[in-house]
Symmetry: C2
Subunit: 856 residues, 2 copies
Amino acid sequence: MPKHAQIQRLGKDAEVPAALYGARASRLAKLRALGLPVPLAYAVSVPTVQGIAAGHIPDLAQLLAHFGERGILSVRSSPVEREWGGPETLLNIGLNDNIHANLRHRLGDEAANALYCRFVQDYSIHVARLDGEAFDGLSDEACGRAESLQAALAIYESEMDERFPQDPVVQLGHVLRSMARAWEGTTARILRQARGAPSDAGLGLIVQRMAIGLGAGESGAGLVQFVKPSTGETAVRGRYLPKGQGRDAMLAGRVASYITSDKRGVSLEDVNPGALADLRKYGEIARMGCHDALRFEFTIESGKVWLLDAAPAARSPRAAVQIAVDLAGDGAISRKSALLRVEPRNLQQLLHPQIDPEAPADVFAKGLAASPGAASGRIVFSATAAQASAAREEPSILVRHETTPEDIRGMHSANGVLTERGGMTSHAAVIARGLGLPCVVGASGIRLNFRNKTLTTADGKVFSEGDVITVDGTNGVAMIGEVGMVRPDLDGAFATLMDWAHEFCDIDIRANADTPSDARMARVFGATGIGLCRTEHMFFQEDRLTVMREMIFADEVADRRAALDRLLPMQRSDFTELFEIMQGMPVCIRLFDPPLHEFLPHSREAMQELAEAMDLPVSQVIARAEDLAEFNPMLGMRGVRLGIVMPEIYEMQARAIFEATVKGSQSGEPVVPEIMIPLVSASREVELVKARLDAVASEVQIETGVKFTYRLGAMVETPRAALRAGELAANSAFLSFGTNDLTQMTYGLSRDDAGRFMSAYVNLEVFPEDPFHTLDVDGVGELLLLASERGRAANPDVVLSVCGEHGGDPASIGFCRDAGFDYVSCSPFRVPIAYLAAAQSAVEGTNKKTEDLVVT
Amino acid sequence: MPKHAQIQRLGKDAEVPAALYGARASRLAKLRALGLPVPLAYAVSVPTVQGIAAGHIPDLAQLLAHFGERGILSVRSSPVEREWGGPETLLNIGLNDNIHANLRHRLGDEAANALYCRFVQDYSIHVARLDGEAFDGLSDEACGRAESLQAALAIYESEMDERFPQDPVVQLGHVLRSMARAWEGTTARILRQARGAPSDAGLGLIVQRMAIGLGAGESGAGLVQFVKPSTGETAVRGRYLPKGQGRDAMLAGRVASYITSDKRGVSLEDVNPGALADLRKYGEIARMGCHDALRFEFTIESGKVWLLDAAPAARSPRAAVQIAVDLAGDGAISRKSALLRVEPRNLQQLLHPQIDPEAPADVFAKGLAASPGAASGRIVFSATAAQASAAREEPSILVRHETTPEDIRGMHSANGVLTERGGMTSHAAVIARGLGLPCVVGASGIRLNFRNKTLTTADGKVFSEGDVITVDGTNGVAMIGEVGMVRPDLDGAFATLMDWAHEFCDIDIRANADTPSDARMARVFGATGIGLCRTEHMFFQEDRLTVMREMIFADEVADRRAALDRLLPMQRSDFTELFEIMQGMPVCIRLFDPPLHEFLPHSREAMQELAEAMDLPVSQVIARAEDLAEFNPMLGMRGVRLGIVMPEIYEMQARAIFEATVKGSQSGEPVVPEIMIPLVSASREVELVKARLDAVASEVQIETGVKFTYRLGAMVETPRAALRAGELAANSAFLSFGTNDLTQMTYGLSRDDAGRFMSAYVNLEVFPEDPFHTLDVDGVGELLLLASERGRAANPDVVLSVCGEHGGDPASIGFCRDAGFDYVSCSPFRVPIAYLAAAQSAVEGTNKKTEDLVVT
């Protein structure tokens, strides 16, 4: 504790920094400095409050003297950052028998009794820590009666074995100490840490003269803001309670008035238009002076408006964008500040339809909010049914235990996904986020019966295939029937903010796009190219899957080649279309990656079907499936390993890419495809693939007579590839970091299996965050830095990028930008988020030197 | 090519370094210097041979002049290292019509014809590259006839359209060039690279006067050595062919004589005891002078012994030990040299019974030699049957598709293992090597029928359970019935060599030991403690498995604790016994590591049984198994993750360890158990486990009134743990590197699934070696160095070690020793190998500074 208590009067020339006195005190000081009618107030600094908690009470008599003899006071918490919360405001401090008598004259018996009675209760419960039940009979209405006041005083006296304290100095001292200690309690600590507060988070306190909204004349209290919370458009919103105090207007059961004239009932505008005009005026002054739209807590004392407290106006993510853009438009803040005002992650909610918060909804299942947005449609229990539904142009919701790669075709066709199992990083969740498809996973209360095609809810409701439901992937719930929605609005303020983000963003943002529709979406969101085109999804389409399986069942290279020859024209047309859509922009194609067994059916029935389709004994299908099965598919025969052991697959893909390149180059500027090799762990892998690809390129050039070039790169997905990045870069035009796999391998942690303990791990602070959501700077991050350093040293021109989930995570994007990466690539729906995050990182100027980031 | 050809006469004062003239030339020079009767010879240097291959033939007339007019010559290859092979020796160079006529006088017609005829053939085929078939009619016997000689000359003349060259200079020039070029051929190159030769491996050549074993008087040729190839004991071994040349005595179909008197037939000792005495005398001189037991190629020319060539005597791994120890005993070499003479890897063969090479054997299946040694026993098809067989004290061979952790009990009981699938790093292979159990995996020709309990061989033989077979894990074959074996001999020379290895070895060698019998074996082999005690194997015993499964099925913590309480006394007695056996030595116990699903049955039948045993509906058993199933078990809920989410498991284990510690400390010096935490990826994991373990330790100390200490360490098995080793070391007494898992994760490569492409990868040189056998210095090795540096910086006292397969690999042991690790730990049967490898590393003085090893 400092030698002298820091207690600062809020006002014109006062220095009231938030770091020392808390955000609320700082803001109120500003309002007073702007000349707004904030009642006299003093701020107690964070160190002084710490001292108070330890028992060092400053000289309060001196403080009270400032407020005059008959003033009654409130004490509010003022944490350094508003989000951390804090103990509740205590009102009416200073009330005692004398002042009560005085108030009876000024306000009348009922109001005076109510104030004193209420203070005695609040003080007893929050300061003296008496049991609240003792006061159960004393409702707010009852409090106006003299007997109630006497009862309250009597309860205090009997419980505490002393008279209710009459000395305002004593009262204030106990109140301050009580609030200071409450801040240090375990529960408060846990709660604020959950909101991101550090362990030494500081609390300031504000002692303020009260304006009393209970007296004669037009008196009351309310809350008001001047923007719509849902959209951020200019409009007055709030509630007002005549003869009310503090936040009473917001309490349930209170019939509050409207602020502006409203046909549904009485309003402040009706009864006191001058007060509303004052509030509007104060609102605009505060908005420009404090550089933000504020919400006021106000009291009208005999017709005069007092502003007791102010906070940033409540706002949805969409409103946040509107408010920031408007502030910048009005010159209240700069464009840079406007960019920093919006949480990139929250943009997600702007990009998808959302459930209308006003619409009635009947929730039948809760799960994890795996992919934002909402969709209604008919229940389908299989990928095939989803496709059939799409063919009939009927929206569908795919319902599965959990999804597998076989379901991807179905996910492309469905409008939403609901699974019984899986976590935030399950297959369904990851793919749905990639597709921008609303998705709820882990709805463990439901039971699915695929034979009868029914979904049974926890309370026994049964749905059949074809019944309409709605999934809300923003909130993780599923609802009966169709539910009202709010459409996304990508013009207006959103478009303006995005323009500014593009302006300040100093790295490239590409999109992960596997299909023409992904690619078109990528262009809509302003991606500068495709950073990851996964080719294997292309093989899950019905007609191709059959050929794919023929390839897998081929015993001889020749048979395998024959099957691949049939896939070639399909792949070529995939690429041709992608090149057309992305004209003039780079397209980075990842060669085939997954293990072959992902293309085989898993159930006995499906194997039977396949055996029939391929005219093979089912035993052979089962044998092949067993043959290909792996203990740890993530660490098995996939990626470049498959490409080296069965080189004909990559050869076919290379030919398809190069033939599409020739075709694409004929119409306009030459296409320069980027090809990347997955799951590299040794530089010789790149050499071997490069030799084969070069040979195919030469063949195609000779056959077509058209010259072209291509850029080959390696994916850095294994820790070893990161360590050997120097060697890899020597043979590569670019290195693309697949941070999903790299995280899995660096931690030894399967994304699919981590759900079982990830939440326990984050709760116990074993991991500060789920490393699949936010890049693990200490471990995976070090590998990234080390690899980029070695890569650049060996080949200064090597292009470095990150693709995968982290490419859309704001914190991770900042890290990549600071580390000097050339671009990040993320799913199309995350491109705006990436732009904003990168722009923020650029604006904040955190372009630290790479060396500073190396953690050793 | 150097300006002047380097051609050096072999003899007393000549400098003939192996690096310049090849190993053979160098050795022959030494023998001549020792005064042994080696015919006059000249060595052609490696650069000169390279020049010859390029067409620069040196002045051969000058060279030939040294040999006199009528000498006929041989040319032998002399690669820099003997193991690299080289073109075959060419004899009788210089023979032409003139010398033939002369020889007819000296040796008689038949011998002279035979020599000339043979030379014409050899020259035609190996030098002029004529088709060997042309000479098909001319057998060695036929060659003695004049017509045969004329026929051979005529074939040459008609094929080459020129007379057979008569000028010895021409002949020798062509021979030298032919041999020099053969060395550079693709096949020769691949063959020698397979034997470890570098790409620029050099060849020297030796031109030598021939001694002719075909003439009148006692003449002939043979091979002799003075140690038994199988054991290395002193004994004369060899063959002799009267009237023979070169290595004729070794050719199939030739009835050679014995060297020493033999009742089976005629011998050199019988016909020429003086020659044998000379050979013995020369053998001893050469052994002392060349510091090794040699094998001579000799010719007796009219009674006089000539030594044409010498090489290290043929020797089995066991003989190599005997020979090295004897040489050191006789002062021919130092003890240090003796240690370097034995390949550590080869010691394996000394430690297990081996198939007697002389015993008749009927092979029915071939696979991979997964774990050395041989065993005979009755076929069993299940772990249970193996245990039953062990109970009846009947040796058994466990035959499976592939083994799973459920089979471990069975493997402990069986005497050998044969699997149809899997590679060198499959479960069966790894566990068998750990257990020192002969094992053949991937015997893909056999078919198993577990319903009928039959094994059908590729050619249709059917075996039933109970039939006796023999597996030879050294050679990777399975044989019908019982086959004769040679027992290991761990006394004598082996024990002496081991004493010397212990003397020079400057790091500790511990053993991985899970059971009392492992621990006893560890002591037998001189381990200085247990470096890895895997506790989970203890739970696979029948009675414990049931309790274990009860724990897995427990829904509540209380039920789980109840099951664990029943496991506690069993675990305690495990540890008590281990501490007793290892008295005074450190025992490092790894806390529970595998995923829980490893303890559940996999087949429908076994689940049914379990449901009955536990009185649960089978649906519940299946549901739990599905619930626990993982996509990538290697990367899932195991190790410390399980320990943190279900802390009662580690608490039970800690209590068992501490109670055993108290018990063990009562009888003698205090036990200080080492406890290690598996699969760490964040330092907070160590902190959380440490807090729990400390609490349990306090409880046990209070309950028993006995004070004790323990040492806690983290396993570094994930790349992230390696990167964060500084933090880990701050909380740890030791860091133990689990290089198996670390390799898996660094490469993104599952040991169980790698078999499918590992051989292709090693053949294509993508990986220089299987990284699960020999530590990957460039990737995993860098993580080891980086972690040890960071760990030591944070905690200079931290003990560093490697446990797992690499702990028994000689190259990896050298790396760890050079990197300054404190100990390596390997399976008991590899402890001698580890000692020898570490001793070699110490003797060779390769104690490089850590910094030199960092690969960047």
